[in-house]
């Protein structure tokens, strides 16, 4: 009975403070806000799939919108699709083509498909691209993949709407990962809600311990990379904010290599 009551309370909470809000219009398209980084060490790629055609529809173009680290629009570009082939987008190439210099070395981008398959309308649903980003580091030829995890932003006729829910009260997201002693990490947080977020990162070796690692304000669509260097003991990370779920992207470093995953 207590278990059922708990489930009911969770449903109540999710109804008023959903993980993902609905877009304004049924024809809106949705995308994650994918993290890109480009500098002398990093290249970023996106595997653009023709998900409209995968769903039995027809589409020849998608749109990519770039933002800087503060969430400001950089540029928009239409991408031609080639049937059902995948298109590997080299983010450095797209930035260079649009005259974005090396002073901006990271940010986010969103992918919107320009048509909607019938089945999406018929199912009262929305088309969403949470596809696959990959990163190449230093001399390695291997790209490391991570999938999109948020239905972060919707594009209607002329506007963008941030879709991640905000909670009335502060919520904690505990990264279910053991950060290892002597290792270094980067924690990437993106604010995909429609209001500024005060975020607190708490690094500890127990979920109830007190030391605060850092607190910062994250404007709408902005991102922050928090560096954790050479940890002196195995640790856990929790993130406190009003985001209904503040899942980070984690880069971990080991010798000359790195790994990337969604928290």
């Amino acid at each position: 009975m207590i278990r059922n009551l708990n489930k009911t309370l969770n449903k109540f909470s999710l109804f008023f403070q959903p993980i993902t809000k609905k877009p304004y219009s049924s024809s809106s398209k949705i995308s994650d806000l994918f993290f890109w980084r480009v500098d002398e060490n990093w290249r970023t790629y996106f595997d653009l799939l023709n998900i409209v055609s995968i769903m039995g529809g027809s589409s020849k173009k998608a749109e990519i919108i770039f933002f800087d680290q503060n969430g400001f629009l950089l540029f928009t570009e239409e991408i031609n699709l080639n049937g059902l082939s995948k298109k590997t987008l080299d983010i450095a190439y797209l930035l260079g083509k649009n005259n974005i210099g090396s002073s901006i070395s990271f940010g986010t981008f969103a992918i919107f498909h320009l048509s909607t398959p019938e089945i999406i309308f018929n199912s009262n649903s929305y088309l969403s691209d949470r596809g696959y980003v990959s990163y190449k580091y230093r001399s390695s030829n291997l790209r490391k993949y991570v999938h999109g995890n948020y239905d972060a932003v919707a594009k209607g006729e002329n506007s963008l709407k941030m879709l991640t829910g905000s909670s009335f009260f502060k919520r904690k997201y505990n990264l279910q990962y053991s950060l290892e002693r002597n290792s270094s990490y980067e924690i990437v947080l993106i604010n995909s809600t429609s209001r500024n977020q005060k975020m607190t990162l708490d690094l500890s070796n127990g979920i109830d311990s007190k030391p605060i690692f850092s607190t910062f304000e994250l404007p709408i669509r902005a991102l922050k990379i928090s560096k954790l260097s050479n940890l002196d003991k195995n640790s856990h990370l929790s993130i406190k904010s009003n985001m209904t779920m503040s899942r980070p992207i984690v880069f971990s470093y080991r010798k000359n290599d790195f790994d990337v995953f969604h928290g």
Partner: protein, 262 residues
């Protein structure tokens, strides 16, 4: 009933870390010491036993060797958490090891592959599939280049402890060409060399099986374990949000099963 598999791949050992703390602070999760259990197949029977106590707030990692399994053992090795001790139990269906875990997100483990040089991981879990399930995936992860190898790890776990055999088909999406097929087994981590199918770098593979479901993991390595990447694809329902997503998934599966005449 999430399980946390210990996986393996060429040039690596698998190590899975389980965590006795919740992913959030707003769903119910009792802050108590718990037990780590291992579940595996032995002579056609599911066996489970507690291996270690795990303190509240603690993370513990295990490889196959830590648990006394050698690498030639073909059984899936599944970790789980429980509030109670399990003593050498045997089952004709996989045991329902209950845990009041979070749903947003599902309580997850860190599933790692470790080579002599580096490691790669994803955050995941597996919940046993119905034996009536099917599988459709559009992975874009195949990489080309000197010294790069690409593998798929298809992990199936079902309630019944049998080892069914089914066929998985590999198509190229644009031409609908069948690039190959391969036998796979239930309750097994099926390792498949993707380079044998000769996909081009911009090809989109369609991988499907009409009679078995899997967690599809994609592992790429450069220079035999010096650099590694591990990621999984989402099920087709992930192309949609809100509404009747699983109707959409059914529609996409039916569309491609008919289109490819499988």
């Amino acid at each position: 009933m999430p399980f946390y598999p210990i996986i393996q791949a060429p040039y690596c050992i698998g190590r899975t870390v389980v965590h006795n703390f919740p992913a959030n602070n707003w769903e119910k999760f009792r802050i108590i010491d718990r037990y780590v259990n291992v579940t595996y197949l032995d002579k056609g029977i599911w066996k489970s036993e507690t291996i270690q106590k795990i303190k509240s707030g603690q993370s513990l990692g295990f490889s196959k060797n830590d648990l006394g399994f050698d690498n030639s053992n073909e059984s899936p090795i599944l970790l789980s958490l429980s509030d109670y001790i399990i003593q050498n139990s045997e089952h004709l269906r996989i045991p329902d090891i209950s845990l009041d875990a979070t749903y947003y997100p599902v309580h997850r483990g860190s599933i790692k592959l470790i080579s002599d040089y580096t490691s790669t991981s994803y955050q995941g879990e597996i919940i046993p599939f119905p034996s009536t399930g099917s599988f459709l995936s559009f992975p874009s992860f195949i990489q080309k280049g000197m010294g790069i190898e690409n593998y798929m790890l298809l992990l199936n776990i079902e309630n019944e402890p049998s080892k069914r055999k089914e066929k998985v088909y590999f198509f190229e999406a644009n031409t609908r060409n069948l690039m190959g097929s391969i036998d796979v087994f239930s309750n097994y981590l099926n390792l498949i060399d993707l380079d044998q199918f000769c996909f081009d770098s911009e090809d989109l593979p369609i991988i499907l099986c009409k009679k078995m479901s899997f967690v599809p993991l994609f592992f790429s390595t450069e220079k035999k374990g010096k650099f590694m990447s591990l990621e999984h694809t989402h099920p087709p329902a992930s192309f949609a949000v809100h509404g009747e997503r699983f109707l959409i998934q059914k529609y996409i599966k039916n569309f491609w099963f008919e289109e490819l005449k499988i």
